[in-house]
């Protein structure tokens, strides 16, 4: 996965709280292989219910949403749906923990902003697509002409910038893992399943 530091593109608002992973990708699509492309599944039912849905009016790279975005299940498919559609960054007051971890593993920024900043942006954006610029290095973005700061765990920021792959990263510690395993089961022999 390649990393990124700056991004320019259009942003749309999804002004709801609790846009959970079941909404982001309904369960019935999850038996599909990733090679099928998940972008068409993104918020499928919401888009079906609203032919004028912002995702269908604009080719956005950035989403501004309400609190607790991506709450719910661990399905990484919710991130695949966003990424395959073309979304690279979501700005919201809070995110589901597992979702946020999955996001960084797929190059998707989960940028945390204050409630009042989210409300201000949504008021400015309304139903239109606006210009957005993001700089991971400075932790600042300009959305709809508004300069804002966002919070992002420094580890996640570094990972997005470098495009790190954890398995490659962990390979350098393989000796320490082997040593740990032996000591761990020596100290806690009951931790090995019996049958």
């Amino acid at each position: 996965m390649s990393g990124w530091q700056t991004l320019t593109g259009s942003a749309i608002a999804l002004p709801e709280a609790n846009i959970d992973t079941d909404q982001l990708i309904p369960a019935r699509f999850m038996s599909q292989p990733r090679s099928a492309g998940y972008g068409g599944f993104l918020l499928y039912d919401a888009r079906q219910a609203n032919p004028d849905h912002p995702l269908d009016r604009h080719a956005a790279k950035v989403v501004v949403a309400g609190r607790n975005f991506g709450s719910g299940s661990s399905r990484e498919a919710a991130v695949y749906a966003l990424v395959d559609y073309g979304i690279r960054a979501v700005f919201a007051p809070s995110f589901g923990d597992i979702f946020a971890g999955n996001a960084v593993n797929n190059g998707l920024l989960t940028a945390q902003i204050d409630d009042d900043v989210a409300a201000l942006l949504m008021a400015r954006m309304a139903r239109t697509a606006v210009a957005a610029q993001i700089d991971l290095g400075t932790g600042r973005a300009t959305i709809a002409g508004q300069d804002i700061g966002f919070d992002l765990d420094p580890v996640r920021r570094q990972k997005l910038i470098n495009g790190w792959d954890d398995i490659d990263l962990t390979a350098q510690y393989s000796n320490r893992i082997t040593t740990f395993r032996a000591a761990h089961f020596a100290a806690h022999p009951w931790a090995m399943p019996t049958s």
Partner: protein, 460 residues
């Protein structure tokens, strides 16, 4: 002087292989549980031409897509189950396949088999992995990329969460359960209230819970935003585990219990946050909206506004009027089951309400595992459900997640013992009200949301 440590501290230290300068820990994984949804992880591993690091610590379970009724199985469902079987056989892991006599929902059979033990680190590509924390295990859900990493290395990168202690003092009233405790705190703190925290549950009302109740409480931690829930193990825990197929035996059992007795927060351990709740003040609780935080005592009313939150769209989706009594909400069907409330105690509670009564709406009862199913049949519970007019089905995730074809139709309203009332969760356009199995049973009898407490009077 030794520093007072929380249960989370102790579990973390025992599994920390190393900590990077940026504060991220590499943790050893004692048990990795995979299911049909793990196909992305296996595919990624195959693409890298890598093998499993520890097949002896990896266990496969057919649950999300498991058909629970007889009849034709849709091709894509059959393919999902087949793919897990192929991956499990190629990797050489123990698979609890569809027709295994010990098959069931991963968070039901892990404990049932004694794969779940205090002091272990347990991962699964499922957010309700928090369930296993009821045993004092460090257990949390992971996504597909992390599943791949665990398959490849038997470790997981993780930043230590903050700690939130929720103390339930006093005793629960009759007809009030762990489900009500969970919905109560999630309503109070919000569905993102515990994000970034590991929740440790404590207090007299928690100690008084059975393992089944503790699992329900920890299971729902993620609905309040916490990836992990924890309860210190005690004699109730040890009694539950003793003799389970994968639990230690003989001298190893004694050594294990001695270790496990150390797994509690020290008396002066410091938590980042503490919340205290009076258990005796908790009523049977139901949800009215599309987030688990939209929960109220059954004696309440559908809100007109929720703390400034615009709830019109929620009420539209749910087909409810602001201000109506919760007990006025008529239902179309019921569901009892899931990793939240599909265990034997849950079925006993529901059967206690249903015995000698008739359901006035259709409903499905899906036990959490094949062993729970057998036990319920041996105890005569299945017969009570069938006599009440409900359908007695096989074990699996079933109508909680709707992947196996057990769905609620659009616009239909279901009283459900599950964990998520999200839009479309039980099927496109489905309306879900979360509650305890006893409350589901009560709703089945009356046809609307109902306070179960009077219906339990005189029944022991």
């Amino acid at each position: 002087m030794t520093v007072a440590r929380s249960l989370l501290d102790k579990l973390w230290e025992t599994h920390e292989v190393l900590r990077r300068d940026d504060g991220t820990s590499l943790l050893w994984v004692d048990r990795h549980l995979v299911h049909e949804g793990s196909h992305h992880g296996f595919a990624k591993l195959a693409a890298r031409k890598m093998a499993l690091a520890a097949p002896e610590l990896t266990f496969g379970v057919v649950d999300h897509y498991a058909p629970t009724r007889t009849g034709d199985v849709a091709p894509d469902i059959r393919r999902m189950i087949q793919t897990l079987g192929d991956n499990a056989r190629a990797a050489g892991i123990r698979l609890f396949d569809l027709h295994d006599p010990e098959q069931g929902i991963v968070h039901v059979i892990g404990p049932e088999q004694g794969l779940t033990l205090p002091g272990l680190l347990i991962n699964c590509g499922d957010s309700h992995t928090s369930t296993h924390g009821a045993f004092g295990a460090l257990a949390f859900g992971v996504g597909a990329t992390e599943v791949t990493h665990i398959l490849a290395t038997q470790t997981v990168w993780q930043k230590r969460p903050k700690t939130l202690q929720i103390t339930f003092d006093g005793a629960l009233g009759a007809g009030v359960t762990a489900k009500d405790m969970a919905l109560h705190w999630i309503a109070a703190l919000g569905a993102d209230g515990a994000q970034g925290f590991a929740v440790e549950y404590a207090g007299a009302a928690v100690r008084a819970l059975s393992m089944e109740g503790r699992m329900t409480l920890c299971n729902l931690s993620i609905e309040g935003g916490a990836r992990m829930g924890l309860i210190a193990p005690d004699d109730v825990t040890f009694a539950y585990l003793k003799g389970r197929p994968f639990a230690p035996v003989g001298a190893a059992w004694a050594a294990a219990v001695a270790d496990w007795r150390q797994l509690h927060s020290d008396g002066d351990a410091v938590f980042d946050r503490h919340v205290s709740i009076d258990a005796s003040a908790i009523a049977p609780t139901v949800t009215w909206g599309t987030s688990p935080e939209d929960a109220l005592p059954i004696t309440g009313h559908v809100p007109r506004a929720d703390g400034g939150k615009d709830i019109r769209a929620t009420l539209d989706y749910m087909g409810l009027d602001a201000g109506m009594a919760l007990t006025q909400i008529a239902i179309d069907q019921v569901f009892i089951g899931s990793c939240t409330n599909g265990r034997i105690e849950d079925l006993r509670m529901a059967a206690k309400v249903l015995a000698g009564r008739q359901a006035v709406v259709p409903g499905l009862v899906s036990p959490g595992s094949a062993l729970v199913k057998k036990q319920a049949e041996d105890e005569g519970l299945a017969q009570i459900f069938v006599q009440a007019g409900l359908e007695w089905a096989g074990a699996g995730c079933s109508m909680c997640v709707g992947m196996n074809g057990d769905l609620v139709d659009a616009g239909k309203r279901c009283a459900s013992s599950t964990n998520r009332n999200f839009k479309g969760r039980q099927g496109r356009g489905a309306r879900t009200h979360l509650m305890s199995p006893a409350m589901v049973a009560a709703a089945a009898v009356t046809g609307h949301l109902t306070d179960v407490r009077p219906m339990l009077e005189g029944r022991t």
